[in-house]
């Protein structure tokens, strides 16, 4: 018997408790995670494809911080901000990325396919467009349940041109679903620059075609994202239907671990705000001490180190278990 989401979901710190300190902390954990992941890839402790989000922390962290327990998230091939933002146990998350048995999916999914039912993330997906489609289904279930839960749907600028975008936005608008679509516009769909994949580069303008609000926000300002998404979430919770929020940001690493480069202007990143630096500067302006910030950084590093240690200690999964969940009922599986 399938459990309902409400039954499965453990609590997240809810929005009002999240201040810039906490947002900064999460971004720092995420940054550290991605830095360490790059090392694990280099050491071949992680072997599959890997999509980091260095430079994009504010969008993902600001957005998930607008949710409360019982809400849902859908995510993409670049899902680490959601993993951190939703509070997934990072030891298990690293273990999953390293293909170990203690990973949330026993090593089957890898870094793009980490479901964690306890934390409101059931299916990120490596197929461009899926996060949009699944959000429609979550939204339908939430609307029917009538308990004010919402779905945060994360997607990218490249995905805006997929068929799925049109199908999803139309259905979400039509059925007035409690879905907030966050477009993480990092200026590239893989190697293809925004203006080479979309004529109308102001992506929030796509919303009007569906009769829903569209907004753009500085995606490197975690408070701005948090505020914009919180407002959109409140509206959706209130039964007023979907909103599209475009967060402008910058990917400060290769598209993936196999990026050969050569398609970007080397100076492109000059002058781009680093979301962590911006948040740290603001915290300092508001009175935080250098030591307080350093302590956050240190704790983030400790948290990640512990997670990596957990993952490294985790055994490999057993091949006999492979027949669970796909094939036990299928006589054809063992051949």
């Amino acid at each position: 018997m399938t459990q309902t989401l409400q039954e499965r979901r453990s609590p997240l710190p809810s929005s009002p408790d999240i201040d810039l300190f906490e947002l900064y902390r999460r971004m720092r954990v995420l940054r550290r995670m991605d830095e360490v992941l790059a090392e694990l890839v280099a050491e071949r402790l992680i072997t599959g494809p890997m999509h980091l989000g260095i430079g994009q922390e504010a969008a993902g962290i600001g957005a998930t911080a607008a949710l409360r327990p019982g809400d849902m998230v859908t995510a993409t091939h670049r899902p680490h901000a959601q993993y951190v933002g939703l509070g997934l146990p990072l030891g298990r998350t690293f273990a999953e990325m390293m293909g170990r048995v203690d990973g949330q999916c026993g090593g089957r999914g890898g870094h793009m396919l980490i479901a964690d039912a306890e934390h409101g993330l059931l299916a990120p997906s490596g197929i461009v467009g899926h996060s949009l489609l699944f959000a429609v289904g979550h939204g339908l279930a939430q609307k029917r349940a009538g308990q004010g839960a919402v779905t945060l749907c994360v997607t990218g600028d490249g995905a805006v041109n997929s068929g799925a975008f049109n199908e999803s936005l139309n259905m979400a608008a039509l059925w007035r679903l409690p879905v907030v679509v966050l477009v993480e516009n990092n200026g590239y769909g893989l190697s293809v620059r925004l203006d080479r994949h979309s004529h109308q580069t102001e992506l929030y303008r796509r919303a009007a075609g569906y009769g829903i609000p569209g907004e753009v926000v500085d995606g490197n300002d975690v408070e701005a994202v948090h505020q914009a998404v919180s407002a959109a979430v409140a509206r959706a919770r209130d039964g007023q239907g979907p909103v599209l929020v475009e967060a402008l940001t910058f990917r400060n690493n290769g598209f993936s671990s196999s990026d050969r480069g050569g398609y970007r202007d080397p100076d492109e990143g000059a002058g781009v705000t680093d979301p962590l630096e911006l948040a740290a500067r603001r915290l300092r302006e508001r009175g935080a001490s250098v030591e307080e910030l350093a302590e956050i950084d240190r704790l983030a590093a400790v948290e990640i180190d512990e997670a990596v240690a957990f993952a490294k200690a985790s055994p490999w999964p057993d091949t006999e278990a492979l027949f669970e969940y796909a094939a036990k009922w299928d006589e054809g599986a063992r051949r």
Partner: protein, 332 residues
Amino acid sequence: MTGTTTTRMTYSQALNDALRREMAADDRVVVLGEDVAHYGGIFSVTRGLLDEFGADRVLDTPISENGIVGGAIGMAMSGLRPVVEIMYTDFLCLALDTIANGVAAFPFAFNGQVSMPIVVRTQGGAGINAGPQHSKSLEAWTAHLPGLHTVMPSSPADAKGLLTAALRSDEPVVLVEHKLLYRSEGEVPEGDHLVPLGTAEVVRPGRDATVLALSRMVPEALTAAEQLARQGLEVEVVDVRSLRPLDTATLAASARRTGRVVVAAESWVRYGPSAEIAAAVTELAFDDLRAPVVRLGSLGVPYPASPALEPSVLPNAAAIEHAVEQLVKRTA
């Protein structure tokens, strides 16, 4: 099935009956698809459901096939049991992404954290002069995917029984209906009626040859068998019914008994379901086969619209009869 009261109804009505009963029993079952609500489905399968269960259980969707299945994935993950109608198998091509990269893969990929109690009903086959874009049989495609059931009812009773089993299954099922069968009539058990997924059925026993038939080819095979009986040939007809899991035990047992096998499926032969059926049966019954398994299907061309052309690309009772005769002659 003995002892059960039955009612005579059409294949469409039997499907409708299964949906109505399961929707009444379990309010997580939600029907969605193009034209399924206000219109009741272009083949009337979902007729009356909107009135009975309301607009949040029966949804007319926009023309967004991948979106419909993708939506169903999200619904399933959130605890619902969606039943999707994809109007023609030809349009299922638009939803194979979410089926192959989502529905079939996720229970495995997420190590059981999500289940996919999704039923995708679709409809295929030729015979109404609908041309190359509305006549295909592509069940071999979904049957190739681990993690997914693919079943094809050939009678009203099986339509009800397989759909009921699909609706109660926690694993995803693609149920392929045939456009020429919707109006066919038969006795259908009242009340609860399940046909277990993964089971073939011997629908006519015989000793001289076996016809392994799928969907609309089952009644054609029965017609052929009757004709052949007049010549003294007793043909066993097996309704394969479930492409995945494939009931190789039942199929091979029949092949061993008769030593002569014809596979009759409407789909194209090359890389079609009959290739797997022939290969699987040969693996298990090789020593008893007197000749290689014969495969019958549509000619290897797109389906032409003209009523003068379409019948000549399709297999039928006469072709089955002829194939069995030839096979018996060759192996006498």
